[in-house]
């Protein structure tokens, strides 16, 4: 009787532990999806709260968030941007003048 009680208890504990791990993994994955939109300022107030709650407790996701921000900055700063050729601008200005 006592023995079987012990087994039941251990099994129950293990069950809870697995559930907790899965719960944390699920939260981290969700947080990662939210981060991407958070950087763009596209979260709802509720999502924003969810994310900041998670970041307050998860150092790994805080690092990840910083890295995600860096990636956006890199694209903004390092992407090649050129000016439209002068003749193109002129021809478009001319075009809108000629049509009438």
């Amino acid at each position: 009787m006592q023995k079987s009680m012990g087994i039941t208890l251990r099994t129950a504990n293990r069950g809870r532990h697995n559930r907790t791990n899965q719960f944390i993994i699920m939260i981290c994955n969700k947080a990662k999806v939210l981060m991407s939109a958070a950087i763009d300022g596209e979260l709802t107030a509720k999502e924003e709260e969810e994310l900041s709650d998670h970041l307050a407790t998860c150092a790994q996701c805080r690092d990840e968030f910083q890295e995600a921000k860096n990636t956006k900055i890199i694209i903004q700063e390092r992407m090649v941007r050129v000016k439209a050729p002068k003749n193109l601008i002129e021809s478009i200005v001319r075009m809108t003048t000629v049509i009438s």
Partner: protein
């Protein structure tokens, strides 16, 4: 007779003024978008020209107060699909030589800012970031460009790529994940440690 003509041209003149103020202001952004779509300066010029021709013709249907840049991008994208999609490169198939050539033809215009920073993000070159972005499947590359380079909202992007906002959101998430993996590869090649001491 003369009177009538005069009033019509005055109205036209007003339209012109507004168009040049509202629409022509975005020509650099449109040209860059066209370049990245076509990878060819001549095609890009044609595309921008046709876009403005169409935009001017339909300028009355532009909803005043909405984002004119987004409206123009949408017209350009539609034009591009109609004109070039048939012989566009297959998704996932990237011509690196073409990208390299293309990059070198346009990079002279870019003034290079050299920073003394030593972390791996700052070590990346324009060319590497450009190649990393170009190596992504088009559906990911496009939303990253529209969001990060052009600063469009998710709603505007969703309208341009004709997908729900949720799709835009998840494409951005997945695209950025791929992009970061790509950038980390470059960083490793340069001998930077990307593990962040973890």
């Amino acid at each position: 007779m003369k009177e009538k003509k005069k009033s019509l041209s005055a109205q036209e003149e007003l339209k012109q003024k507004e168009f040049q103020k509202e629409a022509v202001a975005h020509i650099n952004a449109l040209y860059n978008y066209a370049l990245h779509l076509t990878m060819n300066p001549d095609d890009a010029e044609d595309l921008v020209q046709e876009t403005y021709l169409k935009a001017y013709k339909f300028f009355d249907s532009f909803e005043r107060g909405t984002n004119c840049k987004a409206w123009l991008f949408k017209i350009l994208k539609n034009n591009y699909i109609n004109k070039f999609r048939k012989n566009a490169r297959e998704p996932g198939k990237v011509d690196y030589d073409l990208i390299k050539d293309f990059y070198h033809t346009i990079k002279d215009v870019q003034s290079d800012t050299t920073e003394a920073e030593s972390d791996f993000f700052h070590s990346l070159l324009h060319e590497e970031v450009y190649q990393a972005l170009q190596s992504l499947p088009e559906e990911f590359r496009e939303v990253i460009q529209l969001c990060d380079m052009e600063g469009f909202t998710y709603e505007e992007i969703a309208n341009m790529v004709e997908s729900p906002i949720g799709t835009v959101r998840s494409r951005l998430y997945r695209g950025r994940k791929l992009l970061r993996a790509q950038l980390e590869d470059y960083a490793k090649k340069h001998g930077y440690n990307t593990e962040n001491g973890e």
